[in-house]
């Protein structure tokens, strides 16, 4: 056990440690997406999944192709697209709340006004 700790703390941080962190984040997002009923919580889960994908892009870029910037720019554009998506989704959710006074996915079977 002591050996394990010294190995972990003395060696460089491997790429699979970053991938493991993003893996846990992604599947926490999957669980939340499948279990929550409020649309805002589903949106939080989607943000978690997008963020996990961003960590993967950045860590592959940094570890495998350190001289290039493809993963860097992909992450930058993904952050911008996620911000857009969140803004539009929250506008839609507020509009639904105004019409139905609820943001649960179970009440969305009537889409007419």
């Amino acid at each position: 056990m002591g050996d394990l700790f010294t190995n972990i703390l003395s060696g460089p941080v491997p790429v699979e440690a970053y991938l493991g962190v993003s893996l846990i984040m992604f599947f926490a997002g999957v669980y939340g997406f499948l279990t929550r009923r409020s649309m805002l919580m589903i949106l939080v889960s989607i943000e978690l999944m997008l963020n996990a994908a961003d960590i993967n892009f950045v860590s592959f870029n940094r570890f495998l192709y350190p001289g290039q910037l493809e993963g860097f720019y992909f992450t930058l554009f993904t952050i911008a697209i996620a911000a857009c998506e969140t803004a539009v989704a929250i506008a839609i959710i507020i509009n639904i709340y105004r019409n139905l006074t609820s943001v649960e996915v179970g009440t969305l079977d009537q889409m007419k006004e």
């Binding site: 440690a17 846990i24 599947f27 919580m41 570890f63």
Partner: protein, 167 residues
């Protein structure tokens, strides 16, 4: 040594808070846990040497998106009300599928990427290099996606105003 300790602390923060964000009973708390996850991700970017990405993550995610989330939560939820979740059988199915996916992908990562890749030393990315890469039209330069993103942002502004306006 310091880098390893920082990484494992950040990784533990991200893992714990992302699980708490999807299991918390109150929606405002889970938004706060999401904020911690986003800040931890920004810390990982800083640890990897991408300072600009750190700043963008803080400004856009932890600043803009979280403010939107908290406004939306306060507009649509009664305070102190617990979040409703799906039926227990569905929660069990979702948990089993999430754990199964975690185990499968973890197995793939552990056995296929197991060779130790040392963190290659790179020079700091200068703002000149970033600007030339973002604004050039050559190979490995990204003017077209940049302009597409700006069109997308404009469309989002118009669309959000159209959807959320009072009739």
């Amino acid at each position: 040594m310091a880098e390893q300790i920082i990484f494992y602390v950040l990784g533990a923060i991200i893992a714990i808070f992302s699980i708490m964000a999807v299991t918390s009973k109150q929606i405002i708390r889970s938004a706060t846990y999401l904020l911690f996850v986003l800040l931890g991700t920004a810390g990982l970017y800083l640890l990897l040497g991408y300072n600009y990405l750190f700043a963008v993550q803080i400004a856009v995610y932890a600043g803009g998106v979280m403010v939107l989330f908290i406004f939306a939560i306060l507009l649509t939820n009664k305070p102190g009300e617990n979040v409703k979740t799906e039926l227990p059988i569905r929660r069990i199915v979702a948990g089993v599928s999430a754990v199964a996916g975690l185990a499968f992908c973890g197995h793939v990562i552990y056995w296929n990427i197991k060779k130790v890749v040392a963190l290659p030393v790179i020079a700091d990315i200068t703002p000149q290099q970033l600007g030339h890469t973002m604004m050039g039209t050559d190979k490995y330069q990204y003017l077209l996606p940049f302009e597409s993103i700006s069109i997308l942002l404009l469309a989002c502004i118009v669309g959000a105003i159209m959807v959320a306006r009072k009739r």
